[in-house]
């Protein structure tokens, strides 16, 4: 009987909304975030790298693994901490407003301003957590790569990678994207100052649009999707013929990977043709000049492109190194490889994120609320902690 009398719903709400719990949970979130920085994380490192790290530290791994600290931001521990934070914020707001809040607002003056700010800050935090939850649960994000002229048909295997939140069913509804052209502006031949892709886009839910531009920092919104440019590179057109029969075995644009080291870019990849006698490594130099008989890349605009074809054993042993300008060819055993042209490729991130609008509103509400809450202090009034 005594126990029942001493427990009340408001008492429980006060407990959940206590300031000490708030400070403790902030500490827990900070500690988990620190773990997310200090420990290798899935999605940021390759699994083989994480496995090697874990093998070198078995005791620490045994401690961290059960808590999900190697994927901490998607772990139950972290999500639980955020859930407790949300409950704490909601509870402390209810308690404060029930105790004194509404009276303070009605009374007016700087206290009313502070209290309104307090209410708005905590509402924005709840909105932020809600928007983040929507993003985590329902967001779909896919990376695709297109060479100029190529079209994408929204099949699962056409994406380089695709991920969706656990609450979202992966849907392919025949969203079509064709890349017309990629324009990259360089200054001083190597500083990339603008990247724009012209695309034609269509899906079942919105009218098709042709000639739309996607620019770095200026995503294209189409229906529920947004398209951002991720990276660009070069796709040399390669025609591989059998020299004995003169038959064309391969006629394709091969997208070479773009590597960025410091401020420099390089464009390489392996030629994935099993019938060639040795491993062939391709490099495109968009603009080159010869120095002491060796070609050197001097720019990233394709003013004077060169294809470098290198045969190796896959390691350090190089068997041959040949060069081809557009229209010329090299010989690899019984095969001829013709460098028939050069196009650009662009990779795009296609995102549907139902949580972003909520988060956007929450963030700016939070900023306005902070100003409201702390404006009296910034104007020189006594801090709230010394007023009551």
């Amino acid at each position: 009987m005594t126990l029942m009398r001493s427990f009340s719903p408001l008492g429980a709400v006060r407990l959940v909304g206590s300031h000490r719990l708030a400070l403790a949970i902030i500490g827990v979130v900070v500690a988990l975030a620190l773990a997310g920085i200090l420990l290798p994380q899935e999605g940021r490192m390759r699994r083989s790298e994480i496995a090697a790290w874990q093998a070198a530290r078995p005791a620490l791994t045994a401690l961290c693994n059960p808590l999900g600290l190697f994927n901490v931001f998607h772990s139950k521990v972290f999500l639980s901490a955020l859930a407790v934070l949300g409950m704490n914020v909601a509870a402390c707001t209810v308690v404060r407003m029930a105790d004194v809040g509404w009276r303070q607002i009605r009374a007016g003056g700087s206290t009313a301003v502070r209290t309104t700010g307090f209410l708005a800050i905590h509402a924005s935090i709840l909105l932020l957590l809600g928007g983040g939850f929507c993003s985590s649960g329902w967001r779909q994000s896919g990376m695709l790569l297109l060479t100029e002229g190529q079209e994408f048909g929204d099949r699962h295997d056409e994406y380089l990678r695709i991920s969706e939140g656990p609450l979202r069913r992966e849907v392919h509804d025949r969203f079509r994207l064709q890349l017309e052209r990629v324009d990259v502006t360089f200054r001083e031949k190597r500083f990339e100052t603008d990247v724009a892709a012209t695309v034609n886009i269509a899906d079942r839910h919105a009218p098709p649009q042709a000639g739309r531009t996607v620019r770095v920092n200026h995503p294209l919104s189409y229906g529920k999707r947004s398209l951002t440019i991720d990276e660009t590179g070069f796709s040399p057109r390669l025609i591989v013929t059998d020299a004995r029969s003169d038959s064309v075995l391969v006629d394709t644009y091969l997208s070479l990977t773009t590597f960025r080291t410091g401020g420099e870019r390089e464009y390489h990849d392996f030629l994935p043709l099993d019938f060639l006698p040795r491993r062939v490594f391709l490099t495109v130099m968009p603009d080159f000049e010869m120095r002491n008989g060796v070609p050197v890349k001097v720019g990233d605009d394709p003013d004077r492109p060169l294809l470098v074809v290198q045969e190796s054993d896959g390691g350090d042993r190089v068997f041959s190194r040949q060069f081809a300008t557009p229209g010329s060819e090299v010989t690899l055993g019984q095969y001829r490889v013709r460098f028939a042209g050069l196009r650009r490729w662009a990779s795009f991130l296609v995102v549907e994120d139902p949580g972003y609008a909520i988060v956007y509103i929450a963030m700016w509400l939070g900023v306005a609320a902070l100003l409201l809450r702390y404006l009296p202090e910034l104007r020189g009034n006594r801090p709230a902690s010394e007023v009551h």
């Binding site: 490192m45 603008d194 920092n217 995503p219 991130l349």
Partner: protein, 271 residues
């Protein structure tokens, strides 16, 4: 470094050094007029510092916000400008400069050591959110630095009560209030920095938050300052406790500017 830029750079360092020593001597020798001279020297240094920023801006063709040297240069400009402005118009104790100016030296010196030639603004930086994000980042850092300056003075005053020179700086209560107000100012600016960064990230990378190490550490710094404010309001942690929290929080913030790269690659091209 371009000659004229180097000239202005060193012309700003010298008056800052003079300002530091004049304010210090003023306290030690109890000569208030030396403080005034120190503040004048500080403003002279700030003028040359502004010229350095201007020269770099012109030579780069854009605001100096892309590499470590530029960020350190403009960051220290904001720190000194905020201190000088509040000293002039809001009666901030000049003695706070004794802690701020050496920090500015270190940061400017680090920038000088890692100096690199100006480069055109990359495509990723061609966004109006760059100006918002960086501006509020440096307002936040400058405010937090001023808060830490007041906090350090408070701690020195409390721990070395017998030092005559320290008795001439304002009362601990005034320093505590200055600490709090600058933390509040920094916190609001920090919030705008985070929000503008998230909007910029959504436009640039397709996602507003990716738990990138620099983003995460910025959040940690933000939550650390939130902890400071909450602890003061609800646990009544003031004076020395609050001062120690502010000093620790600046350490956390400093890592988010200069140390996060040590923990692994980040997509954010920070300092």
């Amino acid at each position: 470094m371009a000659k004229i830029e180097a000239v202005f750079f060193w012309l700003s360092v010298f008056p800052y050094a003079c300002a530091f020593f004049l304010i210090l001597l003023s306290l030690v020798l109890n000569r208030p007029k030396l403080t005034s001279a120190g503040i004048v020297s500080l403003w002279v240094g700030l003028a040359f510092h502004s010229a350095t920023v201007g020269v770099r801006w012109i030579s780069a063709g854009h605001a100096p916000v892309t590499d470590t040297y530029e960020l350190n240069l403009i960051g220290t400009w904001f720190t000194i400008a905020i201190f000088a402005g509040f000293e002039r118009w809001r009666s901030l104790p000049p003695a706070v400069g004794l802690t701020l100016i050496p920090v500015a030296f270190l940061v400017m010196g680090h920038g000088y050591v890692v100096w690199s030639a100006a480069t055109p603004l990359g495509a990723a930086y061609q966004s109006p959110w760059l100006a918002v994000h960086v501006l509020f980042a440096w307002f936040a850092f400058g405010s937090y630095a001023c808060a830490t300056g007041a906090a350090v003075l408070l701690l020195l005053r409390e721990h070395f009560r017998d030092w005559g020179a320290l008795r001439r700086i304002p009362e601990s209560a005034a320093l505590d209030l200055a600490n709090y107000r600058f933390v509040v100012l920094g916190f609001v600016n920090h919030a705008v920095m985070n929000v503008s960064g998230a909007v910029w990230a959504k436009n640039l990378w397709g996602q507003y938050w990716g738990w990138d190490p620099l983003e995460t550490w910025s959040l940690i710094a933000f939550l650390t300052y939130a902890f400071c404010l909450h602890a003061r309001t609800f646990l009544k942690w003031k004076m020395q406790v609050s001062a120690w929290l502010t000093v620790a929080a600046l350490g956390v913030l400093a890592i988010s500017f200069w140390g996060v790269g040590l923990f692994g690659p980040t997509v954010h091209p920070g300092p």
